[in-house]
């Protein structure tokens, strides 16, 4: 079982310079990236037609390791860069990887507007519940009452529910899983990659270094166990889901995609010509 999985991933890696990676031993980012590569492989995307764009933070370093068109942007702005690239090259599969702070804090406004436009991007939010790269400050996804370096007396804010936020903003596809449920995560990413429009997958990940250590889960295993015990598949949401994280496809609907709509704008503009414009 291990060998074929490795063989799937290896051809997608940039082995010439970039390893070992920047992440802590046991970091969930590796599981997220592995799942994403296997999903890309199964969908059958070519490397040339795939772009991977990230923001700033530990998750921002995912694209550099893989052999696609990769763009590591500024904090929170990955969706802006991705919007421009997707409009310039609608035929490309543009995958955006952001952290929770990246996507919901500094980039929160970009996130809701990109979802509202329904531009064809596959969006992976690596939610590790904390600002990891800067050392463990609370993020918009840090659970209430947990501890962070900037919440030494316990966190008093509510968290963003990424899935409900994306749904309300207009995303046609929203799914969630964790790095413990790795095969499920991979399948959800595969579905997102084949969905037309703004498709969001929230991958709850372990930052045992910065979140776990401050909250009684200082090893990767203890955090993975926490994910197993505190999440339920959407099918069991009503029976066992009280106070737990729901996993699975949370939103799946068909809405017109932005770059396809813009092609209609081009047609209308050309038909109208210089005189026909109101």
């Amino acid at each position: 079982m291990k060998q074929p999985m490795f063989q799937t991933i290896y051809p997608y890696l940039r082995t010439n310079k970039k390893f070992p990676n920047v992440w802590c031993p046991g970091c969930g980012n590796g599981i997220v990236l592995g799942s994403l590569i296997r999903a890309i492989d199964r969908v059958g995307l070519s490397k040339d037609e795939t772009a991977m764009i990230s923001g700033i933070g530990c998750s921002g370093r995912l694209p550099v390791y893989v052999d696609f068109n990769t763009l590591h942007t500024t904090h929170g702005r990955a969706l802006g860069f991705a919007t421009g690239l997707k409009m310039a090259r609608p035929e490309m599969k543009v995958i955006v990887i952001m952290g929770d702070g990246d996507a919901l804090g500094i980039g929160g406004n970009h996130f809701i507007h990109a979802a509202r436009r329904n531009i064809g991007l596959t969006v992976i939010i690596v939610n590790n519940l904390i600002y990891g790269m800067t050392g463990g400050q609370y993020s918009p996804a840090t659970p209430t009452d947990s501890f962070a370096t900037t919440a030494p007396y316990g966190h008093i804010e509510q968290t963003f529910d990424i899935a409900r936020l994306a749904e309300a903003a207009g995303a046609p596809f929203v799914a969630r899983s964790t790095v413990f449920h790795v095969f499920e995560l991979e399948k959800l990413m595969e579905k997102a990659l084949t969905k037309k429009g703004f498709a969001v997958v929230e991958a709850i990940s372990n930052c045992h270094t910065c979140y776990g250590r401050q909250n009684g889960m200082s090893t990767p295993v203890s955090m993975l166990k926490w994910m197993r015990e505190n999440s339920v598949p959407i099918s069991a949401k009503d029976s066992k889901g009280e106070g737990k994280i729901t996993r699975g496809i949370l939103v799946d609907r068909d809405l017109p995609e932005y770059t396809e709509l813009y092609d209609q704008v081009i047609e209308r503009a050309r038909a109208a010509g210089a005189e026909g414009l109101r």
């Binding site: 940039r14 490397k47 942007t73 406004n109 414009l277």
Partner: protein, 373 residues
Amino acid sequence: MSGERFLQGNEACAEGALAAGARFFAGYPITPSSEIGEILSRRLPRVGGKFIQMEDEMSSLAAVIGASLGGLKALTATSGPGFSLMQENLGFAAAAEIPCVIVEVQRAGPSTGQPTSPSQGDVMQARWGTHGDHPIIVLAPSSVREFFNLTVRAFNLSEKYRTPVIVLADEVIAHMREKIALPAPGEIEVFDRMKPTVPPEWYFPFDDTTEVPPLASFGQGYRFNVTGVYHDKAGFPTMRPDEIEPWFERIFAKIEHHLDDIVEVEREMMEDAEIALVAYGASARSARSAMHAAREKDLKVGLVKLKTLWPFAEAAIDRVARKVGRIIVPEMNRGQVRLEVERVVAGRARVLGVNRYDGEIISPAQILSAIEE
């Protein structure tokens, strides 16, 4: 749309962008630049180009950079407050060497200031607004026709040197109307970025053996990494000084080694001048009137008009310093270009400012009285 037309400055800018081959605009409405986006929302789709109104200026410049990496010539337009929000991604474009054009129509500031009043207060923001040392090219139009020309030139320089270029206009030039003859498409020199000709496995997007490495577009078979982190010739993050320094040197050298091509000034009546006016943008128009009024009174006054603000026209100002006893710099700020003139003149001539920052333009009479002092 060539031929003679009665155009507003912002219209001429939009025409210039289209003539230069721009096919993407992303922006956020802000007075006094909004017409540029409005016009391009109508015109771009007619030529197969694309327009998007983003949620703010940060994502606007981000989208412009993304589209440029996708192979389109791209621009945004804004004013001071929006330009402040773009500084982060402006630095990204400079560091990652992504061609793009930012049109900034200055209005009175700081802060919200007076949105419909003219100013030239963003000269230093255009130079140093983003964090960290970085090269930048800034052009300043002083007429409607020049707004067209310099927008074309901004794209050409941006493509040629793989760098962001700022067109620093002001509210007067943006909103005034002049009859201008637009050149026919064939009459305009248009420069397109160099694309790699080597096989993908030999391609280094940040090759340090050449000043301006060719830039492949995403999706064309050259898979590479682009980052705002210090990077090596392949675009991979690096912390090695022996990789950082050559990159840093190169992104400055590619501009500094080509000042003859980049820095443009116009000299008028400087042959016998004893007093020089150094001006740019709307203030250059008042300066020219003042020069003619002074000549009527037999005062030997000349004009050096800066069409490139950054890199600063050191050679041209040096020539002036060796020739005249007095240099007057009229500008709608508290003396931002005057500081640069003083630096170059280094005491060889008296340098005086004529400054106004109350939302009104500098009148020729105001400059004339400084000449006659």
